[in-house]
Symmetry: C2
Subunit: 267 residues, 2 copies
């Protein structure tokens, strides 16, 4: 089952719009975990077990593994999720972007090596650099549109033919990339008006919405501006606020439940 | 010594503008090499030894290692270059792009783990996502401006305030990012007019120019349109045409020499 189908089913069965981001910063681990590569695996499998019932998706951020040479642990955590929670989609957050031959290597990395259901992709290099993720048999792309960081307007908000660049990305996703394969978009919770604009362009397309939690986005506004006509359509990510909540793993579970409930209260 | 200083000195001592791209596709290896991770290391160290005298830089493309779980071999190849050819800068081609905390993890990956002198970075997410590479003590960023692929115009050529997006990237690199640290730009050999435009904006700034070799860019035009007033300023990359030349490793050395000479003939 492909990413979008799995996600649709998971939204239904979990009654959750929350994505738990897996950003293993060993300097913030509870004291009971070692800060080596093995500690990353143990901490994250405990986080997965504690938060799975509140999650519509998991999103490992590959940079945290790559910085410390923990690719094998990322493989194991992805395999653990697939084996134990086969109904929860895995989005590999890697923000890849490169020309065709190289993009095919990145698609192999995301889908064949890590077994992710979708990978985040940067659109700057153009359609031919997104296509390899869409045409991979197990592939799906979540393309950056309007990102949650403070400087995202430097280029994304610049106006081309009367519309900002991120609107052009949303239009291409709807009219062109969706014909090629399974595509969704990233729009930050920190830009709620832009989230509403993108929703008005893309129909029911799934939107990955980072920026709730540590980055300060408001769950109620995200649901109001981001959900589609069916009351789903958003994958609202929180990483640090859940992983490093007071009270260790039990605190992470509570924070995941609290965030899921805050999102559901606004539906 | 930082990336730009090392590069300036290497241009002078090697009398070469050629960057040898290290894209290990095991399906194209000469028959004497195994196609596992160890084969990647042996093939690339032989390529490095055979082509170093013709090279102003080496550029490993991380996707080819990541697809097959060969990160340790990338570490070893980078260490081999630093140990045996300490005067040749290493550009890690990874096209990273992510928000601050995550970008700092990618900077650790590139500079601390792999010991690269510079890393390629995607500008779509804005200045605050480029800054962590520029402020890392051993860091330098080579930012995508106008890429060599066929679809690069989808967004990069779109006009904002009378100028295409890639011109805005070049202007920001010159006026803002260069004040933050060691920055250069990627401009494809397959768009020679755009290469001349970028050169006219950025002064003597180094430009990484992919697309000569298998992608068909013309070395003479690259030199004419891309070099700065000192007759340097370009890092002209060829990967597949060198690595998989007829005649195995000896053929790769000949192709590197031939490409260096073709570039020098046009200076």
């Amino acid at each position: 089952m492909g990413f979008s189908s799995l996600l649709e089913r998971r939204w239904e069965t979990s009654q959750s719009l929350l994505c738990v981001g897996l950003d293993p910063d060993t300097s913030r681990f509870p004291k009971s975990y070692s800060t080596d590569a093995e500690g990353i695996e143990w901490f994250l499998t405990d986080i997965v077990d504690a938060t799975a019932e509140y999650a519509c998706a998991f999103k490992p951020q590959i940079a945290y593994f790559a910085a410390v040479g923990a690719e094998q642990q990322l493989e194991k955590v992805c395999a653990y999720i697939r084996d134990n929670y086969p109904d929860i989609p895995i989005i590999l957050d890697a923000k890849r972007g490169d020309i065709g031959d190289t993009a095919r290597m990145y698609a192999r990395e995301a889908f064949d090596r890590y077994g992710a259901h979708a990978v985040t992709v940067n659109p700057y290099m153009g359609t031919d650099t997104i296509e390899p993720y869409l045409t991979h048999p197990q592939g799906a792309a979540v393309v950056l549109c309007r990102t949650s960081n403070a400087g995202s307007g430097d280029f994304q908000s610049q106006v081309i033919d009367g519309e900002p660049l991120y609107v052009h990305v949303a239009q291409r996703a709807t009219t062109q990339w969706a014909q090629m394969g399974d595509v969704s978009l990233v729009v930050g919770a920190t830009y709620p008006e832009e989230l509403a604009t993108v929703r008005s362009i893309v129909g029911d397309m799934a939107l990955l919405v980072p920026g709730v939690g540590a980055q300060g986005g408001d769950p109620e506004v995200v649901v109001r501006n981001g959900c589609n006509a069916r009351g789903t359509g958003v994958i609202v990510n929180s990483s640090r606020a859940i992983l490093y909540a007071e009270g260790g793993i039990a605190g992470a579970a509570q924070e995941a439940q609290r965030t899921r409930d805050a999102l559901n209260a606004a539906r």
